[in-house]
Amino acid sequence: MNNPDTQIVDHPTFVYSSMNRILHWLRAVVITGLTITGFYIASPFLSPEGSTDKLLFAEWAMWHYIFGFILLTAGLLRIYLFFFGKDSKGELDSVKDVLSVRSWTTQLKSYFFVGELQKKGIYGPLQFITYVMIMLLVIVASVTGLVLYVHVYHLGIGGLLYDPMRAIEAWMGGLAMVRYVHHITMWGFLIFIPIHVYLVIWSAIRFKHGALDVMFTGYDYHLKKEKEQDQA
Amino acid sequence: MANKRVVIDPITRIEGHLRVEVEVDENNVVQKAYSSSTLWRGIELILKGRDPRDAGLMAQRICGVCTYSHYRAGVEAVEDALGVEPPYNAKLVRSILNESLYMHDHIVHFYHLHGLDWVDVVSALSADPKKASELAFKYSDLPISTGTAELMAVQQRVKGFVEKGQLGPFANAYWGNKTYKFSPEQNLIALSHYLKALEVQRTAAQMFAIFGAKQPHPQSLVVGGITSVMDVLSPARLSEWLTKYKIVKDFIDRAYYADIVMAAEAFGTEESVLGGLGVKNFLSGESMMLNRTENLFESGYIKDGDLSKVYDIDESLIDEDVTHAWYEGEKPLKPYDGETVPNYTGFVDGDTVNGKAKILDEKAKYSWVKAPRYDKEAFEVGPLSNLLVNYARGNEKVIKAVGDFLERTGLPVGALFTTLGRTAARMLQVKLISDNAIITFNSLVENIKTDQSTYTKFEIDPNKEYKGRFIGEVPRGTLSHWVRIKNGLIENYQAVVPTTWNAGPIDANGVVGPYEASLVGLKLEDPKKPLEVLRIIHSFDPCMACSVHVMDMKGTEISEFKVSVADGGACSV
């Protein structure tokens, strides 16, 4: 159908640094791990056969803490990179889209097959807000997780954070509420993930750009745009 | 001369917040009586929309004195609604808990709540401990805590209190009132038991906690059964219960029984305790499962003090009236459909014998207690009702216990229908329970040899509607809980509490409840120090702030009543 020559992209757009890409996949892995271990912690569906020294629950819980701390660290780094990374300009530019009503209508229309997805930064406004919300969700999950954690491990970081975390616990209305909110954050991720995966694939197909590749290679390309430019 | 108003608020030594007002004539005889609960908490409203499995634990917080009663009632009302049948072991354990509760509760009520109405602490000072020690053998073959040395020690402690004029909880009371009838020696015996009972009640509470987790407010019942399976199956725990049971039973036999015999002797001619019973209808629930086929007490009711006829309860005839209670509502409602919408109208200013005060507006609404009625009539509930109904039913154990007691004290059957009788009935009830609790216990021991189940699984179908109730006997009388379940949640919840039966205000038809009826005709020694009123009200063992109402009659009815009771008693014996 198309001339093979025009499909070659000469000037791919740089989107994500390697650090950000690694962090993204790290988060993907640990959130999956956290969801699975978290479900087990909320409602332990396996029991050890035979002896008590297997410490099954403790092991699941341990992995949950390990994943949790990875998520926490990854989250902190990601927030830093959002502001100070070498790729942060593209992301910060999206703030302009959030403030622009036109960008909003453009993005929403594009999702319903009307027009192109045009934006100033690398994210559409809805996309940007969603990612910010997910980041907030990571923060809430991390903080509530830490509040729960300081009661499990009393030395090191657990001991260090004990007092401030108890303050947050009291502010939130007790550990049960903390635990409840922590549980709700997990559902936030679970709802986000399918939408996220779908829209990435969909926009890659619909707008013929490297929506998937960008998280592997860091570079985006715009097949359609190239074609249009060529035709023009 | 116009009647004078006496206000007593707070009524102390009860559970909850109770105000009683009486109007006395120029001879200090009570003409009218009103009572009011002065606290509303709205627990029935709070229960709406909750998980039915939480009903028991939440309802238990209605009361921390008859703790467990509402827990069990809440759990069993939900079981009744869902059609869950708990295993036999669970039923026996619940019965053992109930028996343990009675053994704790009646001791604490008589000695620590009611006792100071009968015992003049100050008078015990002038007693001769030696004489008192000998006197104790008159009331018990083997008295407890009445050795000369023990009594001397008690006396010295009391002296310490009185001399320094800093009486702590005994301050500013009614010591020296002429209606205190015990001799100094008798007072000393009772006082020694007051202190001993503090110790015994701890043991009784431990006995309860073995299968109940803690007391007050146990936590081992669930819809479908009980949770303390490890304790039930542990021989160590079983023998622990048995040991503590024997200690408490010993105290009931050797001290509590003896003190009531002593009170019957001393107060047998004291007018102010030989009335105090105005409503002649008595209602009782079933309780104290002994084994698969036998309960210690059966349910039923008797009317007009007639012991020759006993009727089965038709629960559809129970309703609650709120004409004079601080709630919205036009006509009496069945408990399943009961509403609890507050409509507070408060107090009015008035004169009392003690000066100006806030008084009840008896013509309007004046209490937080509703007025339960059975077939439009008021009923008394409690240990006395329980014994009378079972007496009329021909319950051999009850007939024997009552007979033995009357023989021992030389009192006529009619003496049961009094304040003194109500207090004695509480003792007789717990004596019967402590004598028979061992049967329930042995049934359990026998059964766990072959059957270790303690829990029945169940499902709550959110698409179905359920309704169920619990009706049974608890330390203060007949308790019923009524629940409707819809969408898997509590749709409506009502509790008809013993004290509600006894203390409910006048209803739309002018029918008067037991509290208010019991006070009319009472002569007060000193209206400013109304000990006699306290004694009658305490004899009911109030468990929630309750209500009394206007009664515009002279005291004549009480004497008529005595006659009719004696007749009734005579024909059924």
């Binding site: 020294d53 410490l55 559902w187 969909w202 | 608020d9 909850g16 407010h217 969408n487």
Partner: protein, 378 residues
């Protein structure tokens, strides 16, 4: 001076001040102990056990003995608000036979409606008198939540029908210390559960003075007595957590010191009440135990002279010493993931599953639409 010495000398100073106060009794506790036939050795044993309970070093034992002897100088006023008297009952169950009852008899219990002989006007006189006579010196203990709706008229007390709210704020003004005994006076309790028809609140929400909370439904006698002893010894508030609970009693979760904790870590759970796991004493987490979210010392002190406690009796903890536990921890016999979302008769997991399902359906619809659009455009 290190912290320990500082604490020790503070306690000594406190005892000196107390001993200079005029006694309200003629006899010292020591004398009364003798009369009661309690040996000094038993008394010291009790003092040692209280010292250990408060997590203080054993050097404090003699100080405790001293302070117990002086306890009779401290007037107590105990008020009942919207309550069930369960906390008073718990107090009566107090521990360590003979000695504990002595302590209670000889702390000067000025006003306590469940125990006092006087009623009505006479009772009110006592209350007014004690508040006047011991101005600034008495300890105020409150049982029950304070109804605040309708200007507090859901509870009235005394011949002048004062509201509970006015009585407690009045008594708080001149109290040396205020203890909220039980969850109701600490956090509002059962009557404050949704929809809180009477506007019930904890005492610390209605008075300006600092309040020590001793929650529990009811709190164990140990926690009531221990908190009092701490005040007697140091004359200051004990170390408190964010909810003003004494740390010595409410510093650990039930879960941290639970006898069934090994089974939790092992993943061995009671699947149904009365099952083999229940008979073997396995963990009650799946039966809704709220021990992991609840701070109290039940697993150590237990109730009724160490007789038993809920988890021991095979029923999970229901979280009764936590604020708003009726609303945040129900259904009490189900794990927290069964908690109903406010206003929806549904759990977080059910709502979450529904939303995820809706999302997936939405995605499917969008994908199908995309196919058609592509064809059209293509």
């Amino acid at each position: 001076m290190n912290g320990f010495d500082a604490l020790y000398s503070k306690a000594e100073e406190r005892i000196r001040i107390l001993s200079e106060l005029p006694s309200t009794k003629n006899k010292t506790i020591e004398k009364l102990l003798e009369e009661k036939g309690v040996q000094r050795r038993d008394f010291m044993k009790w003092a040692a056990s209280i010292t250990a309970m408060l997590a203080l070093p054993s050097q404090f034992t003699p100080l405790f003995a001293d302070v117990a002897k002086l306890a009779d100088r401290l007037p107590l006023i105990w008020l009942h608000m919207a309550e069930c008297t369960g906390c008073s009952e718990s107090l009566i169950r107090s521990d360590a036979p003979t000695v504990d009852s002595l302590i209670f008899e000889h702390i000067s219990l000025e006003y306590h409606e469940t125990l006092m002989a006087a009623a009505g006007w006479q009772a009110e006189e006592i209350l007014d008198g004690a508040m006047h006579k011991y101005k600034g010196k008495y300890i105020l203990l409150v049982e029950g939540g304070v109804p605040t709706a309708m200007d507090g008229q859901y509870l009235t007390l005394g011949p002048q029908a004062k509201t509970g709210l006015s009585v407690v704020t009045e008594a708080a003004k001149d109290a040396a210390a205020i203890f909220s005994i039980g969850t109701c006076s600490s956090f509002g309790g059962i009557q404050a559960a949704a929809p809180n028809p009477t506007g019930a609140k904890g005492v610390d929400k209605v008075v300006k003075q600092p309040v020590i909370n001793v929650p529990g439904c009811p709190p164990s006698a140990k926690n009531i007595v221990g908190t009092l002893m701490h005040f007697l010894l140091f004359g200051t508030l004990p170390a408190l957590d964010r909810y003003s609970r004494p740390k010595w009693a409410y510093g650990n979760r039930i879960h941290d010191l639970c006898e069934r904790r090994g089974h939790f870590d092992a993943g061995e759970f009671v699947e149904s009440f009365g099952d083999e796991g229940a008979k073997a004493g396995w963990c009650l987490y799946k039966q809704g135990c709220k021990g992991p979210y609840t701070f109290n010392n039940c697993s150590i002190e237990r109730f009724n002279q160490h007789t038993h406690w809920p988890v021991g009796a095979g029923h999970g903890c229901m979280g009764c010493s936590e604020p708003d536990f009726w609303d945040t921890m129900g259904p009490l016999e189900q794990p927290l993931d069964s908690h109903l979302v406010m206003g929806l008769n549904s759990t977080v997991d059910k709502v979450g599953t529904t939303l995820v399902t809706a999302t997936v359906i939405g995605i499917g619809a969008h994908a199908v639409a995309s196919l058609f659009m592509n064809k059209k455009e293509g």
